[in-house]
């Protein structure tokens, strides 16, 4: 089944510039229905109110990190099935493995480009 291009996507990052970069890249790919949150706490509250087709989250944020958000999402019956991509400068192997264990669907290391984002999104949500 083809991906609905109007599906809502949640971008979580505490740096406004990075949110803007990701939103621009998503727009270039064809997704314009994008919400933003500045940390895990805000993101989780938003996820409880709106059903998102994909979450793209940074790792290192305060007060709730992206890793904690991922764990919280996977432990919550209401939102546990939401596809989750980590986009982060945390590039140690232990981070990738921890994220995989916690249930991340894909992992992008910063800096990245539109091609990488599109490829990982396709792998997670299907062709578009």
């Amino acid at each position: 089944m083809a991906v609905e291009m109007t599906m809502p996507i949640l971008v979580v990052d505490d740096y406004k510039t990075m949110v803007r970069i990701i939103k621009n890249l998503l727009k270039q790919i064809g997704f314009e229905n994008v919400d933003e949150a500045s940390d895990g706490t805000e993101a989780f509250e938003m996820m409880k109110k709106r059903k998102y087709g994909l979450v793209i989250s940074d790792w290192n944020m305060e007060p709730m990190t992206g890793y904690e958000l991922l764990q919280k999402v996977r432990a919550d019956e209401g939102v546990k099935a939401t596809p989750f991509i980590m986009v982060t400068a945390e590039s140690k192997t232990e981070n990738v493995i921890a994220a995989k264990k916690a249930g991340v669907n894909n992992y992008i290391v910063k800096p990245f480009n539109a091609g990488t984002l599109k490829a990982k999104m396709t792998a997670v949500i299907g062709d578009f």
């Binding site: 890793y67 590039s91 140690k92 192997t93 995989k100 992992y107 992008i108 990245f112």
Partner: protein, 222 residues
């Protein structure tokens, strides 16, 4: 009254009793023993006074050396000048970088939404936007200079603190409870930050890890 003075007074008293030409042999013997006791006490208190005196001299010299070393550390200069200036420079770097990125992204977004109906107008728009993007890249020069100043200040402080620690033979105290808790949190949440010199695990290797099943990953650590 100092111990040596007390001993001297006792000795004087004994001398005057002896000089009184006493005939009682037992009293003479007692006085002789008292004399010996006084001499012994004088030697004892004398050595005690000297060791305390030496100890105080040593402490005073250590305090003077510590004061000199702290002065060499120039803590007021560090607290009032170097650290605040370094902080202000770094804040300026963040602000300049943000402003430049904002400007560059706005130019790029405007270009992406520009309509290329009239090629000549479109080319003029692109050229003008590119010039503004290039102009905005000049933030890198300023930021580079600001960061260099911060690095110089940090090296200065590092040298002073290292010299102080080495001269005074300072050993690091254990981490505070708060520091231990923060280190534990960083460790638990895998907050390592960006690696020096680019990603520690390249995207291709990340993809390989993501493609592996959990058992295969676990076996890498057996």
């Amino acid at each position: 009254m100092p111990a040596a003075e007390v001993a001297a007074q006792i000795r004087e008293s004994l001398k005057s009793v002896k000089a009184a030409d006493l005939k009682d042999p037992q009293l003479i013997e007692v006085l002789r023993l008292a004399q010996q006791l006084t001499d012994t006490m004088q030697m004892f208190f004398g050595s005690l006074d000297r060791s305390i005196h030496d100890e105080f001299i040593s402490i005073a010299s250590y305090i003077a050396r510590t004061r000199d070393e702290i002065a060499q550390l120039r803590p007021n200069d560090i607290r009032e000048q170097r650290i605040p200036i370094a902080g202000a420079e770094l804040e300026a770097v963040v602000t300049d970088t943000e402003k430049a990125t904002e400007a560059i992204m706005s130019e790029a977004e405007d270009l992406m939404s520009a309509k290329p109906d009239d090629l000549a107008t479109y080319k003029a728009e692109v050229d003008a936007a590119m010039c503004r993007i290039i102009e905005n890249c000049s933030f890198q020069d300023l930021s580079g200079q600001r960061v260099s100043k911060v690095v110089t200040s940090l090296k200065h402080i590092e040298n002073r603190v290292a010299r102080f620690a080495s001269t005074m033979g300072v050993h690091d105290a254990d981490a505070t409870e708060e520091e231990r808790a923060e280190a534990e949190r960083q460790n638990r949440l895998h907050l390592n930050g960006p690696a020096q010199g680019g990603p520690e695990t390249k995207q291709d290797d990340v993809d390989s890890l993501m493609a592996m099943d959990q058992d295969s990953i676990d076996s890498l650590f057996d």
